[in-house]
Amino acid sequence: MPVVELSYSNLQKLVGKVTKKQISDSLPFLGLDIESEDKDLVRIEYSPNRPDYSTSFGIALGLQGLLEIKSGAIKLNIKKSHKYKISVKPSVSKIRPFVTGIIAKNGKIDDKIIKQFMTMQEDLHFGIGRKRKKSSIGMHDLDKITFPLVYTTTNRNHKFVPLNSDSEISVSEILNTINVGKEYGSLLGNSSQIPIILDANQKTVSFPPIINANVTTVTTKTKNLFVEVTGINKEDAEDMLSVIATILQSAGFTLENVQIFGLKNSSPKFKEKKISIDPNLANQTLGLELSMSKIISSLKKSRLNAVTKGKNIICTIPAYRFDIFGPMDLVEEIALGYGIQNLEPIFSPSQTIGQTNSVSNKLKSLDQIMIGLGYLEALNSSLTSKRVLYDVTGRGPSKILSVLDSKSQEHTILRNSILPGLLENLSRNIHESYPQKLFETGNVFSLNDPISEKINFSGISTHKDANFTEIKSILQSALKIGFGIDLETKTFSDPLFEEGRCATVVVDGKHVGVIGELSSKVIENYKIQSKVVGFEISLSDFFFKSF
């Protein structure tokens, strides 16, 4: 979950007449978790579906609603203007066909606000922008740009001074040497042409979705902003822009529209959505009996507009709330406006009878039997390593099931056997008192169109007198007394076990596993001081069927 760092005093100024305590008490009921506090500073964790909460301005709008200082939907006031035009050239159609934008004037910008805008931009890029693939933002100092602009393509030799740089470099160099270029360059594919926004003087404004030009950098001296969003999909680009427009207006900027022509582009409309909701759906879902007016006031507290129409409620949703898909999302808005703290839990006994799964039942019985036989249960990860499964055990690697790009070296392949893990456990307990007896049941995996998962059962015992007879007696008793299953052992050979001290376990004529004295070489590899005996059988083939 993303985190934003804000100050209480700033929030108080934005929200209106509220105390710090009112704010900290209300934040969780907006769905915002306070991660940490330090005097005036507060770090807030917000949900990825609410990018408007990435700034204090957005959070203040939510708090105003919940604390009943201001309610209802936020309306964007956009001044009609003909000064700002972007024309789109057909060549962008195959690369990044859409652009949209907004002008924001006469705002006050300090370092903290710049930082907040950056956080918002990063959040939008990551979430709805899908790491800039779907849509991306460029925020510019309006006064450094001469309109009209053109959104077109150019080749990779095109040169300009990119953000945070003082010399002109080519697009190819940007993609090969600058971090953002290396990170997002692949979004442009192999095309020789790349998207570019140029101003009326042919000066580069932005190279979407990679980097802005240095000349338009927003600083604390900036008063007027131009924000462009480019993307592969018009609706997503406009959704993104609507969040930015809402936040800029709340931050005190005056908005003016940008006219966009060419290809399938048009000026952004920030169209509100209307969704009808049946009050019964809300009441049945939440377990409440709210009146129409209570539902309407709850929606307004969630910064939406609502009116009755017949038996239903028509809800008006501002463009930036694109997290709202349908009536069920409005039920949540009603619950939030009503206040989650006001929902009293009710408990009514179940009409259904619960039961555990038969597999769990049988495994539990097996646990009990093994405890009775003096064995302690171990639990190991099913995602393990080549070292544990093969390197130390001398087992020949079969078709290995690996995961891609694991962050942990000890967890890279799925186990096809439990016993190596138990051996590893013994090796980490050589200083504890003996005898040591462990067992484990769990899933093992093998390649089989695509993957077969079976449940295996393994036991291991180590002490100075450990021998084949002991371990066979244990397995025999566990299966016979626990489950009425008879077993036989037949001479076998396995790299994990000592030659001549190893057998295959046979149940109903079928080979189900191995048993024996562990090979002295393996024991030595693990630096275990005394003899080790063990077994591993597959339960899936016979154990659960006999139920």
Partner: protein
Amino acid sequence: MSQVFHDIEKKIISSLKNNPKQTPASLEESTNLSSDQIRRGIEWLKHKELAIVDESKTSVVSLGKNGIESLQKGLPERRLLNFLKDGPKKLSEIQKDLGYIFGPAMGLARKNNWIKSSSEKISLQNFPSELPGEKTIKKIGNEKISINEIDKNDLLGLLKRPDFIIEDVITTKEITLTDSAKLLEISNASGAIDVEAKVPQVFVARTHPLKDTIDEIREIFVTLGFSEIIGNMTQSSFWNFDALFTPQDHPARELQDTFYLDGISAKKIANSEQIKKVSESHKKNWRYHWDVNEARKMVLRTHTTCVTIKHLADNKPDEARVFSLGRVFRNEKVSYKHLVEFNQIEGVVVGKDATLRNLMGIQREFYKRIGITKIKFWPTFFPYTEPSLQTMVYNERLGKWIELFGMGIFRPEVTKPLGISKPVLAWGGGIERIAMLKYELDDVREFYNNNLNWLRSTTKCQ
């Protein structure tokens, strides 16, 4: 009240009554007990204030390598004098006879004027009957002798010579009975034993502590009317993500959070109707190109929800309470609070009781049964539920609110394409977090270390 003594204690007391001042060694001899038994017996008696142990340190000496050689063959200088007894000898002859002791022997004999040199030969000048140090070497012999029994002046010369004398300090214990012990009547008549004595620790075989918590939680779900369903840990992306309305281009599906199985795709993921409807829902709501091959990619399940949703999609019950419990996987760095593989439980309620307040009531009852009474609910976000809540529980030991289970109502975008018409309420979360509270652990890795010391000694949670 008459005191009961261990056999060892009785034997030691009796022996000390006969012979009031003894060392552990003499007690060993008189009682026929092993040194370990004597050591323990003395400890017990000391603890009961029946015996006094006086420890004293004594310096002792024994012979070193050269001392032992001198004991057998005589001191180097004695051997020189003996060799010269039957007449003067050439230097080379002496050197041949004495070998490596030639140097020290000649030095000492010259210094003390026992020999004289004339032209090429060495002859005897004086033949003392006892040389300095000879008395001491004889006295020590092959023993360790207290330094007090030895002539200090005679010893001094030997101490300066290499490897003749080894000095040591030994601790000797002298055991005596206290006055009250002297009055004790020791009798074997009752056959009573010391029932108050400490006994050795034995280890119980047991289920894993985490498994106990898992079983306890499973049991509570069952008593709340939920039936258990099971499913595979390896799942197609379709059931792990697509069926749960997580778009294919969503960052949550990327490698950094999810374990994808290298090069493995499922041939059959769902029936054609399910695939068609799910893909349509994605295209309509998320506006992107849905790719069936992406849905085929096999992953290690990131939640147990894939098992419950498939069960509901295949059975479409009008009323049901089912749950799924098992291992889930996240590609994260392992730390004291994160594991790559952990247990999760998730229950769903379908039917007329399926209201949010009811689900909150089930949660409250669940927490009450695991001993947590201070809880509250906060709104939160899950990609496949709406509305969504999380439970916060107060932990006294940590002195703070902790996030535990999440809950919510499956989005219509999840249920409708799969033909599930009734509202579905889901709740659940990680089990290790609850187990950590129960076992007062601050490091979640402890559950999978299989540290025998911990497994054997941790008190079983009820």
